[in-house]
């Protein structure tokens, strides 16, 4: 079923009786060429690109819960490609380009909205650092504009410019950044992959690997054993737990990040802004709610909920940046578990076990990466070589001293 204006019109006059579920609910087959573990954004995107760009056949995505129940449906929906290091920036810019064509590719309205993102700066050294970052972005084909205070004021007159401790001096603006409706991304990829014959199998938890003579030949699941020629793991916050079943230890810790949504308001916040002096980022959804977040809670966690000190911290950040937020009431909040890596950058690589591939370490920035991560992982699974934008994302970079430490924090995952 293709979506079109005509189809919507037809359904409107016939009582909306013609809409059908957009992916099948198949039972697992005994064997596949490719099994992707994890039906989050990255797993579904991998299946979609594997089937549509790399001619992959006989593919299954195994999801322990339901599609969209993980971080793909829990994030604050920000997309951008404003990284400093060239190992990252080329990859994230590739991702942003894929976002730009995503809805046509999937024939699905994912509400990709390039409303622009501004990272605010509050001091001269911070401005210099952002100028450098902007140059790195431009060199990698991305867009970046360094704004002075007036430039920011034009877009956001209501910010707290004269804050005594952290005056807003300007910002690094990426006009092509923005937001995407997160669960539509999961559904859109699921529908597109399904239409190419990918089996999306929900309520199917992987409980072990079948490894024979150093080769992974299948998986054990709550719905029985399934054989596979190649197995790709994309389970985000559960990475350590799943890879432990293959006796692997990863350079990861699982941490909880919270997200917040206020009651709805008339549109007043046109784009995305991030505070440069505290950890706070905010946008306004099309329904009018302010969608915002801040730091991770900071301790290892597999519970999908956070604690109150961080709620207070995030709200304080919001108040000091845009005091108007003080009148808003918080409507909803939730937490998601993220795979925080030791240098803050991800991994897309083969493991030392033949036939077993790993994709993870996305920290709190993996939503924007979804299309490129899926594309690069599909490339790796299909060709056994890394995609050109993901060459640096090797698992052995930690033992070889080749970290990609965007923040320069070292092996301290709760600070990335």
């Amino acid at each position: 079923m293709r979506y079109s204006a005509l189809k919507i019109f037809k359904e409107a006059v016939t009582g909306h009786k013609g809409w059908k579920p957009v992916w099948r609910k198949p039972a697992p087959k005994p064997s596949y060429d490719f099994i992707i573990i994890g039906g989050g954004g990255h797993g579904l995107a991998t299946a979609h690109y594997l089937a549509s760009k790399f001619d992959g056949k006989n593919i299954a995505v195994l999801e322990k819960g339901w599609i969209g129940g993980g971080n793909v449906g829990r994030n604050t929906t920000i997309i951008r490609s404003n990284y400093l290091h060239h190992e990252n920036e080329g990859f994230y810019e590739f991702s942003l380009k894929l976002w730009e064509g995503l809805e046509q590719d999937l024939n699905y309205n994912a509400m990709v909205s390039q409303r622009g993102i501004i990272n605010l700066y509050h001091s001269d050294p911070q401005r210099d650092a952002y100028a450098r970052r902007g140059n790195a972005m431009i060199m990698n084909g991305a867009d970046a504009v360094l704004l002075d205070q007036d430039g920011v004021r034009k877009q956001y007159p209501f910010l707290n410019f004269d804050n005594a401790r952290f005056p807003i001096k300007g910002g690094l603006w990426q006009p092509r950044g923005g937001t995407v409706r997160h669960d539509a991304v999961a559904w859109g990829y699921a529908r597109a992959a399904d239409s190419k014959g990918v089996d999306i199998i929900e309520n199917c938890e992987v409980t072990g690997f079948d490894i024979q003579n150093g080769r992974c030949v299948g998986v054990k699941t709550t719905r029985g054993k399934i054989l596979a020629k190649k197995v790709g793991v994309a389970v985000a916050g559960n990475s350590s737990r799943v890879m432990a079943m293959a006796d692997m230890h990863l350079p990861l810790e699982s941490h909880v990040l919270q997200a917040f949504v206020s009651e709805g308001f008339k549109p007043f916040l046109p784009g995305v802004i991030t505070y440069g002096a505290g950890h706070f980022y905010v946008s306004q959804s099309d329904k009018g709610g302010l969608v915002f977040g801040g730091d991770i809670d900071g301790y290892n966690s597999y519970a999908q909920r956070g604690n109150l000190p961080v709620v207070e911290d995030v709200c304080e950040g919001g108040m000091s940046l845009m005091p108007a937020i003080g009148k808003a009431r918080l409507l909803r909040m939730w937490g998601g578990i993220m795979d925080m890596s030791m240098d803050g950058s991800p991994m897309i690589d083969k493991t030392h076990i033949d036939g077993l591939y790993f994709n993870g370490g996305w920290c709190y920035g993996g939503f924007k990466a979804t299309p490129a991560s899926g594309y690069a992982f599909a490339h790796l699974l299909a060709t056994d070589t890394p995609h050109e934008t993901a060459r640096a994302y090797r698992m052995d970079r930690f033992s070889r001293g080749l970290m990609i430490d965007e923040k320069g924090q070292g092996a301290q995952p709760n600070l990335h």
């Binding site: 350590s240 737990r241 432990a244 230890h249 990863l250 350079p251 990861l252 810790e253 699982s254 900071g298 301790y299 290892n300 966690s301 597999y302 519970a303 604690n307 000190p309 030791m342 930690f398 033992s399 092996a411 301290q412 995952p413 709760n414």
Partner: protein, 92 residues
């Protein structure tokens, strides 16, 4: 979360800073033949599996002691709190 400090009694977790897995107390021997690999594992690899987790918390806004907290990271329930120096002495 409330951390029951062995000397000071129950304290709010926000008084502490978190370092991570208590395995960080077992620093490898730099003179060992396998030191390079040992330090790589020590510094970068983590068990990070759900359930019980022994971890280091520093009472930064308190008495500045290091604690080893045993916490279930699936539920956040804290079952044991020890002074890190006692743990180090007893070698567990």
């Amino acid at each position: 979360m409330i951390i029951n400090h062995p000397l000071l009694g129950p304290r709010d977790a926000s008084e502490f800073t978190y370092l991570g897995d208590a395995s960080l107390m077992q620093r490898p021997n730099p003179k060992s033949e396998t030191a390079i690999d040992d330090f790589y594992r020590y510094l970068y690899l983590r068990e990070n599996t759900p359930g019980e987790h022994r971890e280091l918390w520093y009472h930064e806004q308190g008495d500045r002691s290091w604690l080893v907290v045993t916490r279930n990271i699936s539920t956040h329930e804290i079952t044991k709190v020890e002074l890190a120096r006692d743990v180090a002495r007893s070698g567990t």
